[in-house]
């Protein structure tokens, strides 16, 4: 939504070149090239095991890559000798399982890193955290511990926690997949609002409606490769590649009814 305005010569926020990653024999990322512009919302879809989550973890340097290069705002972050902890402060990530610190109240989850890494005073940090918590609709829950919150509320705290570090880009790793269906909406709304503020975002998701409405650009990944990319509605409505078509047919969200689907001899849904 906001990316089209970016000048072509502008430095991408994230750029990846021929990124490869294997776990033992298993090739998870098989030569990924990627570029995310300032203010862009890039949506990544694909079957499970296609490497989507690993891609995010590699961008955040939580997984070392085997070969290739990744840049953040023009600085190569896969180079030897970079200060990994400092790079990660500029890249937010929100996980499928929320991963809030169970011993800390919501507000302390949000402020911990700012106080300990940025040495922000507690007063300043609390004020900023309350601002962020109210942005995700949770100002009243600031003093609650994670286990006192619903999954959707925990995930919104996790989003506020990521935003507290003022990241240049935020990575969302299937952030609604662990939620009960009725709690998905409250998290997607927060993501949508965040995209509208011009935050640069990479969103791995199975929510096709979200991809269509909020994504500026959509990538379809399969077997560690980017199979197809384009404007979300184009890819979703008129996929060019056979693999994309099959994936979209298989995902129930895109089938008009369960009756259209059956299990093949190979055990696949068609």
């Amino acid at each position: 939504m906001n990316a089209q305005a970016a000048a072509p010569e502008a430095e991408p926020v994230v750029r990846a070149e021929d990124v490869r990653k294997s776990f033992g024999e298993n090739v998870v990322l098989d030569g990924i090239d990627l570029s995310v512009s300032m203010g862009e919302t890039l949506v990544v879809i694909g079957p499970s095991g296609s490497g989507k989550s690993t891609l995010l973890r590699c961008i955040n340097l939580l997984e070392p890559i085997d070969s290739g290069r990744i840049w953040l705002e023009g600085e190569e972050i896969t180079a030897k000798g970079v200060k990994v902890a400092q790079i990660r402060q500029r890249i937010g990530i929100v996980f499928q399982q929320f991963n809030l610190f169970p011993h800390l109240k919501a507000i302390d989850n949000v402020t911990l890193a700012a106080r300990r890494v940025r040495h922000m005073s507690r007063r300043e940090a609390d004020a900023r955290a309350l601002e962020l918590l109210s942005r995700v609709g949770l100002q009243e829950k600031a003093k609650q511990h994670p286990h006192q919150l619903s999954g959707g509320q925990q995930q919104r705290v996790a989003i506020a926690r990521a935003l507290m570090m003022e990241p240049r880009v935020v990575l969302f790793d299937e952030v609604t997949s662990a939620l009960d269906p009725e709690l998905v909406g409250e998290v997607l709304v927060v993501l949508r609002d965040l995209a509208e503020t011009g935050m640069t975002m990479v969103v791995v998701t199975h929510e096709m409606q979200f991809a269509r409405e909020v994504g500026d650009r959509l990538l379809f990944m399969d077997d560690g490769r980017i199979v197809e990319e384009g404007i979300p509605s184009d890819v979703l409505d008129r996929p060019k590649q056979e693999r994309t078509k099959r994936f979209l047919r298989r995902s129930l969200q895109m089938a008009h009814s369960l009756e259209e689907l059956s299990i093949t001899d190979q055990g696949e849904v068609e």
Binding site: N60, L62, A85, Q86, R88, Q89, I91, G92, I93, F95, Q97, N99, L100, F101, P102, H103, L112, A113, R116, V117, H145, P146, H147, R161, A162, M165
Partner: protein
């Protein structure tokens, strides 16, 4: 009945001063030993859990050595063995040092298990926010894993206290030493050892109540 009827309370009253002195010595060695054992356990447990090269192996050998030899052998080694090497330690030093070394080995295992039980995904959440390894340990693994380890450390702390009674064998004037001396002079064995048991029960119950209070204060939810 006969024994109870002839229970000589006056022996206990008359020995109160001496027993109190022994109690203070037990507490002196015990408190120093427990506090230091917790410190040793925290540091070595962290080295073990994070698999810091060399230091991890050294800590593992220390734990193996201490857990697989009797504490009395360790006390005698410090008190009678070290002087052969020219190292002379006074009784009090051997007292707190021996139970620190013994308790530290068990505390190391308690804390290692606690730190290793911290879900990887929570450490990652810390790293993702820009924590260094040390910051991740201090602000994520230590507070969460420390809480997980707390219940098992109670048992080790209680054992440390109870093991101070072995220090009578090197002449450290703690509770058991004092009680044993009195009964050998008065021959009132039953009374003295009853009084001794009451003292130890009081110490151990107080200690476990204290740690259980901490445990409740710091409790984590069951699932996280």
């Amino acid at each position: 009945m006969h024994v109870l009827a002839s229970f000589e309370w006056s022996v206990i009253w008359d020995s109160q001063g001496a027993l109190w002195g022994g109690f203070k010595h037990t507490m002196k060695a015990g408190v120093v030993g427990i506090v230091l054992a917790y410190l040793v356990g925290l540091v070595l447990g962290a080295l073990r859990a994070h698999r810091i090269p060399i230091l991890n192996q050294l800590a593992a050998s220390y734990v193996e050595l201490i857990r697989n030899t009797p504490i009395l052998v360790q006390i005698f080694f410090l008190y009678y063995g070290l002087p052969v090497l020219g190292i002379h330690l006074d009784v009090f030093t051997v007292a707190w040092l021996s139970i620190t070394i013994w308790g530290g080995a068990f505390m190391t295992e308690n804390f290692r298990a606690g730190f290793e039980a911290v879900p990887q995904r929570l450490s990652e959440a810390g790293y993702a926010l820009g924590f260094t390894r040390l910051q991740e340990f201090l602000y994520v693994t230590l507070p969460i894993g420390g809480r997980i380890a707390l219940p098992s450390t109670i048992n080790s702390a209680i054992s440390v206290i109870k093991n101070t009674s072995l220090l009578l064998l090197i002449g450290y004037p703690e509770l058991t030493y004092v009680a044993n001396n009195i009964q050998s002079n008065t021959f009132r064995t039953f009374e003295m050892f009853t009084a001794l048991a009451v003292y130890y029960l009081a110490i151990v119950w107080t200690l476990s109540a204290l740690i259980r209070f901490l445990e409740r204060r710091l409790a984590l939810p069951e699932a996280f």
